[in-house]
Symmetry: C2
């Protein structure tokens, strides 16, 4: 069971950052109207507003490199996933370290959607 | 509602790190048998094992300084709290940056306990 949770968390993280780096508007498929995103303290709710935020960030191209993925089962069959990594922007010598957490909720079809999403750059 | 969530998240974080820095064994009061802790990729479950882990870390004294607290309501009345900050150890010149997430679940009395706890030092 524990291994299964780790596999789901890893598959989600790979899928999420692949979409982010290659087809950012398609991230909308991972959210629902109830979904919440806190991006660098900015609070956003719902598929449209979250997608608008993610696609209007001040960089077009980026690459996420994952350092760690920690997953745990949550109540009601969900999964919490905690990721650390770095964000590489074109022309930037230094990578930006980030941490991000997701609370994934199962859907009927066996997939998960993102109910909670909190993103922070790591300064210092 | 949103403000209330932020207040609960902040009150929890202040309480948690105050206990951690001043009376670490008392952290056991915040966990239940179902609680899960992932500490630097080490997975632990249950009040006794979590308390044993937290009280056997290789430092006796420490001070957590909180940089950011982000809170969101989760399903079933819970709250997800995402914290970044630094950990100061005696005699260490450099602070250790960390990120930590909690999934808090309400109890009948109006308090919350920690169902999910994931801690990571931020390297890089």
């Amino acid at each position: 069971m524990e291994e299964q949770i780790d596999l789901v968390g890893k598959a989600f993280a790979d899928h999420y950052y692949h979409l982010f780096d290659n087809d950012r508007p398609a991230l909308s498929s991972l959210y629902k109207p109830s979904s919440m995103l806190t991006f660098e303290s900015h609070k956003i709710q719902g598929v449209e507003d979250i997608t608008a935020k993610l696609t209007s960030l001040p960089f077009d191209q980026c690459r996420h490199v994952i350092s760690t993925i920690d997953s745990q089962p949550s109540f009601s069959g969900g999964i919490v996933v905690f990721i650390s990594g770095s964000l590489q922007l074109p022309g930037e010598e230094h990578h930006l370290r980030f941490s991000q957490m997701f609370h994934l909720i199962p859907m009927l079809e066996g997939n998960f959607y993102v109910q909670n999403d909190i993103f922070r750059l790591n300064y210092g």
